[in-house]
Structures are given as structure tokens and as C-alpha cells.
């Protein structure tokens, strides 16, 4: 009996250690959270401290907390630069059918546009274009590359 309990305790300790170590490795390479890219490898900047893009989960167009923070920075930047117009490019990863991805890219670009508009940027200054899966930023076939490709990118027009 006691032997059994001891054995259980040892096993428990071993399992806990395994789980903890698994967590720490995931955190080290933690550039994807819940399917959304959180790294900065492909990101460019509209101005110092103003990232040009936000990332999405597979098949989704909802904005994450981090995406909203990025878009608020873009809105501040656009308020300061009143004569600047932008186009928001919507993109999808390669793991979907071409036509659906075109629609999904358009939905993602509009999600970003709508958010900028709620922060006072006129819709007239923001056009959108969807490229679907046609313009991957990372051409590799891997979960990280796909997460970098599921994006909307704000590009200066003038």
C-alpha cells in the first residue's frame, strides 16, 4: 500500500516535471499563441514603433488584443499624418482553397480597416485589397510560415 502510494507520488513528480519542461520549451520558441503569430520576424514599420501588420488565427478574421494595440498605434500615426492614405492588404495562408482565401483576405483587411475607423480615421483614407494566398511573405510550408502569412498589412499609398 505505502509502496504503491510512494510510487504514485514519484510518478506524479515525474509527470509534473515533464509538463513544466514542455511549457518552458514552448515559451522559449513561443512565437505563436493560439494559432496567431506573435513574433516580429516579418514585421516592417510605418514609422518608429508603428508595426505595419497584424496576424490572424486559421480561418479567422477577429483581432487579437495585440493586433488591436498595433492598430491603435497605426491610428495615432495616421492622425498625425493627415495627408497620408493607406491600402490594407489582406492575406491568407496556403492551406485553403483559392477562392475562399480571396474572400477571407478581404474580410481580414476590412477587420483592420473597421478598427482604424473606430479610432477616427476616415474610411476614405483606407482602401483594401485581398491577395488571398497569392503573396506569401514566407514561402515555407510550416505552421510558423502559415501564421506569418495570415496577416493584414497597412501600406502607405502616397
Amino acid at each position: 500500500m505505502t509502496l504503491n502510494t510512494n510510487l504514485k507520488n514519484i510518478l506524479l513528480v515525474v509527470f509534473t516535471t515533464l509538463i513544466l519542461s514542455a511549457c518552458s520549451t514552448a515559451k522559449k520558441s513561443g512565437i505563436i499563441e493560439g494559432d496567431v503569430y506573435t513574433g516580429s520576424e516579418t514585421v516592417e514599420y510605418l514609422a518608429a514603433g508603428v508595426p505595419d501588420r497584424v496576424f490572424f488565427a486559421t480561418n479567422k478574421s477577429s483581432l487579437t488584443t495585440a493586433s488591436r494595440a498595433t492598430l491603435r498605434k497605426q491610428a495615432t500615426f495616421l492622425r498625425k499624418n493627415k495627408n497620408l492614405n493607406v491600402v490594407i492588404e489582406g492575406h491568407a495562408d496556403e492551406r485553403g482553397t483559392r477562392e475562399y482565401n480571396l474572400a477571407l483576405g478581404e474580410r481580414r483587411a476590412n477587420a483592420a480597416r473597421d478598427y482604424l475607423m473606430t479610432y477616427g480615421i476616415s474610411g476614405k483614407r483606407i482602401s483594401v485589397i485581398s491577395y488571398g494566398k497569392e503573396k506569401p511573405v514566407n514561402p515555407k510550408s510550416s505552421p510558423v510560415a502559415w501564421s506569418q502569412n495570415r496577416r493584414s498589412v497597412t501600406v502607405k499609398v502616397n
Binding site: R98, E99, R107, V137, P139
Partner: protein, 445 residues
């Protein structure tokens, strides 16, 4: 520009009595291909020489195209010519049936051709060797430059006689030619004969082009282009090269297809993050909205009688296939299997819908009945999509992409075909990488 279609074919068709014995069972795929001998066509010695054509070799070349067509169906086994037992001209008059049976042939094709007065005159006969009789014969006249089409038309007639189904050899495939690295692809519209010959490029590659589709009744094509960075649906006349934008939409239009009568284009229009399905009548230019839903509605495809539309929608949360009446009423979801479904395409026979299915990181091309029952997955791969039907509804062509390594290394996009039986999966050779194939109707119908 491309005047391939203004041809004059004069047919003299003679069917022999309808009690012939050989038949090819097309429901079983390539399990038991029919041994067939295709004799080189006899070239009449009175034939003129023609520009760019070696008249003497024409008879052998035509027979090779026919053999290649038959081999690609998986239904026939063309026999090697070195075993042939009779000269082409003598066999064409009347074969010695018992000699051909010795080389295990069950059917024999013979023919002859003559080029005179700038015209190519061809006739052929199909013989049932077991029954020792002629099954069908055809003679026609055309311009010598059409010699490849002659071979395809003969193939169609023989296929029809032996299977009871319409052929699909005198057809073409339009597709998107792809070159360059994966993140800087150059895409051009390209067209070729169904056997991969006669490739022609219809755009220069200056702008991104996607999803070309044939009009089932003419040589018109609809496709999507990013001309001037405005993603829109276009209409292209491949005979004259003229093209025009379809409709006047204030946003992206995409996923175009023709109605079965060729008079309408059905497509998606995306605005403010929402894609719905519209039609435009090409004669009256009247635009009709077919769906009005806050989800993505795309990839529409008419039933061959024009009464229904299959389409792709994520109104349930993920991509699924729906069917509705052509006025947009009576929307019904038809896919409930595991995974998500896209690209529904209605069979020209009306009985099946082909689709792409995505499940657990794999992509499948499959067919199901129009109510969603009887799902059959024909092929599984890392990535494949966009099935298009052969005009007789027997074969699907689609494209397949490979997994890419760092910097896109190892990436390719190729065209493949598969019979709806699930047999005879086969690569279609293209000059470049290729995607988004669309199969034409029979040209000589």
C-alpha cells in the same frame, strides 16, 4: 487571334448495324483495358506536300495521337505496332481478322488520308475482330493544319462507339501557367489541347491572373485579373483576344463561372468584408444579387439545367457546401462529414458534385450526389483543389501543390486528372508549373 475554331469539317458518318459485340465497361476503370490495334493511316501516294508538314509521316503521327488518347483513358491497351500483321492500306480495305486476333487485338482501327487541292481528306474504320465486322466508319475533309484535331475527332468517335459515352479528346484545357519562386510567382493564362500539345499563352504575366473558366457553349473564357491592382472578373474571347471587365462593381469580384447556357456569369462580389454571390447577364448587362448573408458566399456553380446553384459558404462557422435554387431561395447545406468542404462543381451530367475536402491536414478531391449523400473521396494529398469536369462527366482535372522547404524550395504546382471511378490518376504534362485548370466542351460538337 487564334483562329482554330473556324473550321469546316464535313462529316460522312456511317454506322453499321447496331448488334456489335465489343463494349468497354467504363465503370470499372483500368482493371481490364481493351486490347486495341491502331494501324498507321495509309498515306495516298498522290498526296501533295504541305508547308511545315511531312505528309508521308502524317498517317503514323495521327495513329500515335489516337493511341496516346486511348492509353490515357486507362480503358484501352493500344498494342505495339511491330506486331502488326498487315500493311495499312490492305488492312483498311478488309482486315484478315484471324491474323489480328492472333496478336490478341479485340478491336482494330484503320484509315487512309489524301492531301489534294490544299485539303486533307481522311477516312477511318473501326473493326470488331471477334465478330469480324466493321463497327463504324467516318470520312471527313479539313485543312491539313488541323491534322492533330483529326486524330482527336477519330479518337472521340471510336470512344463513343466502344463505350456508349461521348468522348472528350477534341477538347482543350485552359489553366494558369506559373513560373518563378513561390513568393514571386508570375502567372499567365495558358491554353493547350487536352493531350498537352499546342500550348499558347493568352496573357503576358504583367498582372496576377486566377481561375479561368470556359464558357460551355463557346470559346469565351471568364477569369480574375489584378489588372491595375483592381481584382476583377474579366471576359476573354480567345478567338479574337478581346477582353472586357464584367460589370461595374465597387470592389473585388472573383470566383467566376458561366451559366450552362453561356449567357450569364455567376461570381462573388466582396464589399466591406462580406462576399455574396451575383450574376450578370452578358446580353442585357443586368446584375442580380443571389445571396445576401453576412458570411462568405463564394465558388458558385450552376447545375447543368440552370435551375440550381451549388456554392461555398462559412455561414455555419466553417467552409461547407450549400445548394439553392438559381434565384437564391431554398438554401440547403449538403455537407455534414468530418472536415471542411470547398469548390463545389456540378457535373455536366447533373448527377454529381465534385469538391475539395480538407481534413486533418490533408486535401481530398471527391464527388457526392447533389443532396450530399454518397460521398466518395477519389484522391488524398498534401494539397490539391479546384476540380474541373471533362465534358462527358467521366474525368476530373485538378491541381496539386507540393510542400515547400525553406525559401520555398521544392515547391511545385502541377495538373492531374482522375476518373470518377477513382482509377487512372495521371499527371497532365504542362510546359510550366500549372494551376486552376478548366476543361472545354467538345470543340466539334
Amino acid at each position: 487571334m487564334i483562329r482554330l475554331f473556324l473550321l469546316n469539317f464535313f462529316f460522312i458518318l456511317s454506322f453499321s448495324k447496331l448488334f456489335a459485340l465489343i463494349e468497354v465497361d467504363i465503370t470499372r476503370g483500368n482493371l481490364d483495358p481493351l486490347p486495341i490495334a491502331v494501324s498507321p493511316l495509309h498515306v495516298d501516294i498522290k498526296s501533295e506536300e504541305t508547308k511545315n508538314l511531312k505528309t508521308k509521316e502524317l498517317g503514323a503521327k495521327i495513329s500515335e495521337i489516337i493511341e496516346n488518347n486511348f492509353k490515357n483513358t486507362g480503358l484501352f491497351n493500344p498494342l505495339k505496332k511491330d506486331a502488326f500483321v498487315q500493311k495499312p492500306d490492305i488492312a483498311h480495305l478488309k482486315p484478315r481478322f484471324e491474323d489480328w486476333r492472333l496478336i490478341k487485338a479485340q478491336a482494330l482501327v484503320t484509315g487512309k488520308l489524301l492531301i489534294t487541292g490544299g485539303k486533307l481528306k481522311v477516312e477511318f474504320r473501326l473493326w470488331d475482330l471477334a465478330a469480324a465486322q466493321e463497327m463504324t466508319a467516318l470520312a471527313f475533309t479539313t485543312t491539313p493544319s488541323n491534322w492533330r484535331r483529326v486524330a482527336h475527332i477519330i479518337s472521340d468517335k471510336i470512344y463513343e462507339r466502344l463505350t456508349g459515352e461521348e468522348g472528350y479528346f477534341d477538347t482543350r484545357i485552359i489553366y494558369v501557367s506559373e513560373t518563378g519562386p513561390k513568393n514571386q510567382r508570375v502567372k499567365k493564362l495558358a491554353i493547350m489541347d487536352q493531350d498537352g500539345e499546342n500550348t499558347k499563352y493568352l496573357t503576358l504575366g504583367n498582372e496576377l491572373v486566377l481561375t479561368p473558366r470556359f464558357n460551355p457553349t463557346s470559346q469565351m473564357v471568364t477569369y480574375m485579373s489584378y489588372f491595375r491592382n483592381m481584382p476583377r472578373v474579366y471576359l476573354l474571347d480567345i478567338e479574337t483576344g478581346t477582353q472586357e471587365i464584367v460589370g461595374n462593381f465597387p470592389g473585388m469580384t472573383f470566383a467566376p463561372r458561366f451559366s450552362p447556357d453561356g449567357k450569364k456569369i455567376i461570381m462573388s462580389f466582396a464589399k466591406d468584408g462580406n462576399s455574396d454571390i451575383y450574376t450578370m447577364n452578358l446580353d442585357t448587362r443586368v446584375v442580380e444579387r443571389i445571396t445576401d448573408h453576412s458570411s462568405i458566399d463564394t465558388s458558385p456553380s450552376f447545375s447543368p439545367d440552370g435551375k440550381f446553384i451549388a456554392f461555398n459558404s462559412d455561414r455555419s462557422g466553417l467552409q461547407q457546401i450549400y445548394v439553392m435554387r438559381s434565384d437564391g431561395s431554398n438554401v440547403k447545406r449538403i455537407t455534414f462529414g468530418k472536415g471542411i468542404y470547398g469548390t463545389p462543381v456540378w457535373s455536366p451530367r447533373g448527377d454529381l458534385i465534385a469538391f475539395t475536402k480538407m481534413h486533418k491536414g490533408k486535401f481530398y478531391i471527391g464527388v457526392m450526389r447533389i443532396d450530399g449523400t454518397g460521398e466518395r473521396l477519389l484522391t488524398e494529398n498534401y494539397y490539391q483543389e479546384a476540380p474541373s469536369w471533362s465534358p462527358n462527366g467521366r474525368v476530373l482535372v485538378f491541381y496539386r501543390e507540393t510542400k515547400a522547404g525553406d525559401k520555398g524550395k521544392g515547391f511545385s504546382a502541377k495538373l492531374w486528372s482522375i476518373d470518377i471511378t477513382g482509377y487512372n490518376e495521371r499527371r497532365l504534362l504542362t510546359k510550366t508549373d500549372a494551376s486552376d485548370p478548366s476543361w472545354s466542351s467538345l470543340l466539334s460538337k
